[in-house]
């Protein structure tokens, strides 16, 4: 059996540094975003793109550890396509929304179209969960998805009575995806380091 190829394990501190850099980039990218006066749907890009990008970096790191895993490679590439598609469509939608009246049908479509890559993102995750040949990794991924879903439900359940009591403002539903990604990513890191 060929044992010549030995993937280089990614040092934990390097992985942590990359993750921290991506989360920290929020503070660098957002002012630049505002510098170009990008409003409307584009405003959603940063809070959604950063956790997605961090997830992608983590997956690429995992791919370096298991380079012969085709399911993981498809998962990583799928995430990249969805992420880039989302950002490109968001910028196009932003330009269209600014150029057309707010109540126009085209403007409405422009608001919805950027969400399509995010729906594809869910499909990419579902595909990975069914295709991952390594049963332990598959179990971890399912566990992480459950943590993400649990965190999202917990935040929603706590937020609802607080909102009714007018202690907090209306929930921003767009943050649901960010919360799910955060739960998924943090639990993935936890199991990776354990």
């Amino acid at each position: 059996m060929n044992l010549v190829h030995r993937p280089t394990p990614i040092a934990r501190w390097k992985l942590s540094l990359v993750m921290a850099a991506f989360f920290a980039s929020w503070f660098i990218v957002k002012p630049i975003w505002h510098l170009f006066d990008l409003h409307g749907p584009a405003e959603r890009a940063i809070p959604l793109a950063i956790p997605a990008l961090a997830t992608f970096v983590f997956v690429r790191s995992m791919m370096a550890i298991s380079p012969r895993n085709p399911a993981l490679r498809r998962y990583g590439n799928g995430l990249l396509v969805c992420l880039l598609g989302y950002l490109v469509l968001l910028i196009i939608a932003n330009v269209v929304a600014n150029a057309l009246p707010a109540d126009g049908a085209v403007s409405l479509i422009a608001q919805i179209v950027p969400v399509i890559p995010m729906l594809a993102f869910l499909w990419v995750i579902a595909r990975y969960l069914t295709e991952e040949p390594d049963e332990y990794q598959r179990m971890l991924a399912v566990r992480c998805a459950l943590v993400g879903s649990g965190l999202l439900l917990a935040v929603a359940m706590i937020w609802e009575p607080l909102e009714r009591a007018q202690i907090v403002g209306p929930a921003q539903t767009g943050l649901g995806f960010v919360i799910w990604c955060a739960g998924f990513g943090i639990s993935r890191l936890f199991w990776y380091y354990k």
Binding site: M1, I65, S66, N69, E135, Y136, Q137, M139, Y192
Partner: protein, 63 residues
């Protein structure tokens, strides 16, 4: 469930990565099985048994 995977691996001078490549799983999976954090499925248990040319019950024992 207990197992003697670590001993069998050491007897052959294999690292966890070596065993993982032979079983076509990740090193983390081998580590999880060895430390008892994860019990493999029956198909994977058969692959492990075939690799070491032993029966499943000779490698995995009840608590």
């Amino acid at each position: 469930m207990n197992n003697c995977l670590k001993v069998l691996r050491a007897e052959r001078g294999w690292s966890q990565q070596d065993l993982a490549e032979r079983l076509d799983v990740s090193r983390q999976s081998v580590n999880a099985i060895e430390t008892g954090r994860y019990d493999p499925s029956l198909p994977l248990a058969f692959r492990i048994a075939d690799l070491f040319e032993m029966s499943i019950e000779a490698i995995f024992q009840r608590d």
